[in-house]
């Protein structure tokens, strides 16, 4: 797709793209190249002594059972966040699509969590689930549940999943709602005349028509769980207990910033870059050909 009508200038287009390109080069490309370079180095925290160690950082990484564990945790976390987020939002969107009275009010009440920063979402839920003072903890204890996510890894995972899903519901909801509203009413009506009940109609017509949206949201939610949930984790469990919520991004941050391990952290960055590239390719290859070039 190209414009037929174009302007001509030897310098103007360069001037126009210059700011974007400058920022891209300085803050994206240069650091990315540096990350690759650093991943071959071993350096002390102060940067006083540097050695080239080849692939040693990568070897150490993949021999570290806790790094591999972090992959599993990230996968579990993403599946839980994406899966439950999508199911809940689809249910809400299907209901919101059905009601006429109060539709706008419901929509408004369901979309505001999008405005909440992931870190704050984490803090809100951590407060309600706080082991000694939380209001939900209190209710759970009354019901005989021993709730202490500070030491129980499964509970910690549950907490961060709840906070992350809560934060992401609005987004999924809006896309499902838009998807539902774009389904031609005539299709539904035809099925209804054929005698199909609402549940069957949903299963045989609505769901298949929504599958592109669902697949798109699946990828977006996985990307969200991989990266944007950093705030949720950092403000609540900080990867604990016993590494039960240490997702890959959190480990990069921890090793690089808190532990001052430049090489190890950069090697993880490089691995993550591969993951993002794969996800981006999937997103563009299979979902939406936004970029037709």
């Amino acid at each position: 797709m190209e414009k037929r009508v174009v302007f001509r200038s030897a310098w103007l287009p360069y001037l126009l793209v210059a700011p974007q390109i400058a920022i891209t080069v300085v803050f994206f490309f240069w650091p990315a190249v540096q990350a690759v370079w650093y991943s071959f180095l071993l350096q002390d925290a102060f940067g006083l002594k540097t050695q080239f160690v080849g692939l040693q950082n990568f070897v150490a990484l993949f021999n570290d059972p806790h790094y591999l564990q972090s992959f599993k945790i990230t996968a579990l976390f993403s599946v839980l966040v994406a899966g439950s987020g999508i199911v809940i939002s689809l249910l809400l969107a299907a209901m919101a699509d059905r009601v006429i009275r109060g539709a706008l009010a419901y929509k408004t009440l369901l979309i505001w969590p999008y405005a909440v920063a992931p870190a704050i979402a984490g803090v809100l839920w951590a407060f309600m689930f706080a082991p000694s003072i939380g209001i939900v903890t209190y209710a759970l204890k009354k019901m005989g549940v021993d709730w202490n996510w500070v030491v129980n890894g499964d509970q910690a995972m549950l907490l961060v999943v709840i906070a992350a899903v809560w934060n992401q519901i609005s987004y999924n909801f809006l896309f499902f709602l838009a998807g539902l509203q774009s389904i031609p009413k005539s299709l539904i009506e035809a099925a209804a005349i054929d005698g199909a009940g609402p549940v069957r109609r949903f299963g045989s017509i609505v769901l298949p028509l929504l599958s592109p949206t669902t697949f798109f949201l699946l990828v977006i939610n996985i990307v969200y769980a991989f990266f944007a949930t950093f705030g949720v984790i950092d403000a609540t469990t900080q990867g604990g207990p016993a590494g039960a919520t240490q997702i890959l991004v959190y480990k990069v941050f921890y090793d690089g910033v808190k532990a001052g391990d430049l090489g190890g952290s950069s090697a993880q960055s490089v691995v993550l870059m591969f993951i993002v590239i794969t996800l981006t390719v999937i997103q563009f290859r299979f979902i939406e050909r936004r970029v037709q070039y």
Binding site: D44, F46, H66, P241, G243, V257, G260
Partner: protein, 436 residues
């Protein structure tokens, strides 16, 4: 263009007048003392600034220990470090290895001719921050140790004599009675690694690692998976399972659980006293750490925790005279007595300790001398002088992770400690390689 030149000239003139008004040399001091402790730090700096005209110490709160340490390292890499930075004890080996980034305190004092007698300091405190040749590398600032607290009210309610159990065996027996009497949280702890691995080892006179707990060189390996360590951690894990021990978290989370009256027994820092007093909710006593009485040589002495002040390199030469003067001021008995009695941290000089005792402060405030007493119970051995492991910031987190695995029943104590030792050794080797 012209307007710009005028603006520049005006700005320049402004800077000059500002500069001349500020004749005293500024000394940046980054610290991690929030809240009430931060006020104390400010007061110390103000007192020093009022005592002379040539230097102005500017204390800056930089956030928690790891945050301010990271900030100092980043500032060094960006070539603009502060003069003095407060670093917590686990960062000691990292700072020490950074030759070229730091200036040893002994050298700062010597170069400026400031009066300095290393023997005046408490050996268990300075031992932690001194190299094998006896040079003090950083100045201990806030030092505490792990102590054992009990809630007397809870004891009485359970029909028990309000006296702290001396051994772990006794503690466990008491714990069962408290539990039977309906106490929901019987025992908790802050700083699990510091209390139950580091101090535990020193207190029982067993090594944490080879080479005098790492003080003898970078090629040290961990040894805290001995049968004694395993037995202790297994005991805690069993207690957790029985509901006798509630895990509170990786740092000082246990403090509030005890101060609020939730838990009947608690091990944590000596500096928790302030918070417990301020909350004023429980009738408490502070005691020596419990020990296993079948271990020969226990109890030995405990080790310190807290932070010390490091002098960073790369500042104008003249500034270091001011730094030395300030460090000298900090070591004065008067400064130390005020700090000690105001915060609960131990004094760093013998003179300050004696002066506090002579003033009758300990009689009026029982418990404030408990830390010093426990630290100096016996002459420190190679196992109880302190520890010095590279990358210990990470290693302590590894230990905490593995302890969490043990306490939650995911692993047995042996497996958890073996894994902690293995992962810890890997991290030590990395440090050794990076600092060749």
């Amino acid at each position: 263009m012209k307007r710009k030149a005028i603006a520049a000239a005006l700005l320049g003139a402004g800077l000059i007048t500002l500069g001349s008004a500020q004749a005293a040399t500024e000394i940046q001091w980054w610290h991690s003392m929030g809240g009430a402790l931060g006020e104390r730090v400010k007061a110390i700096a103000e007192k020093f600034n009022a005592s002379q005209k040539d230097y102005t110490v500017v204390p800056v709160y930089k956030g928690s220990y790891p945050v301010s340490m990271t900030a100092a390292i980043a500032a060094f890499r960006a070539k603009n470090p502060p003069h003095i930075v407060q670093v917590y004890e686990v960062g000691t080996a990292t700072m020490m290895a950074a030759k070229g980034a730091i200036v040893p305190v002994a050298k700062v004092m010597k170069d400026s001719g400031e009066k300095f007698d290393p023997k005046a300091y408490l050996p268990t405190v300075t031992g932690y921050y001194t190299d094998l040749k006896g040079n003090m590398l950083s100045l201990p600032f806030n030092s505490s140790t792990a102590l054992f607290y009990i809630n007397k009210d809870a004891f009485k309610k359970a029909g028990l004599e309000p006296v702290a159990p001396k051994t772990w065996k006794e503690l466990r027996a008491v714990a069962e009675k408290l539990k039977a009497a309906g106490q929901a949280c019987v025992y908790t702890t802050s700083w699990p690694s510091w209390v139950h691995v580091e101090n535990f080892s020193a207190w029982h006179n067993v090594p944490i690692g080879t080479k005098q707990n790492g003080m003898g060189g970078f090629d040290t390996v961990f040894e805290f998976n001995s049968p004694l360590h395993v037995r202790h951690i297994q005991m805690l894990a069993d207690m957790a399972k029985q509901g006798l021990f509630v895990y509170a978290g990786r740092t000082s989370q246990g403090d509030a659980k005890f101060a609020g009256g939730e838990c009947a027994m608690f091990t944590g820092s000596a500096s928790a006293i302030g918070g417990i007093k301020k909350a004023g909710k429980v009738d408490w006593s502070v005691n020596f750490l419990p020990y296993h009485d079948d271990v020969k040589g226990a109890p030995q002495n405990s080790i310190i925790g807290g932070a010390s002040l490091w002098v960073m390199a790369g500042k104008p030469k003249g500034d270091y005279t001011g730094v030395a003067k300030f460090l000298g001021f900090l070591s004065l008995p008067e400064t130390q007595v005020e700090w000690h009695t105001g915060t609960g941290y131990v004094p760093i000089t013998l003179a300050a300790y004696e002066q506090t005792r002579a003033s009758g402060f300990y009689d009026k405030n029982p418990g404030f001398d408990m830390a010093v007493k426990q630290l100096t119970l016996h002459n420190p051995t190679a196992n109880s002088k302190g520890l010095r492991f590279g990358n210990f910031v990470q290693i302590r987190d590894i230990i905490k992770e593995e302890l969490e695995a043990a306490f939650s029943g995911k692993k047995d104590a042996k497996a958890a400690l073996d894994d902690a030792v293995k992962r810890g050794n890997d991290t030590l080797r990395k440090f050794q390689a990076a600092n060749k």
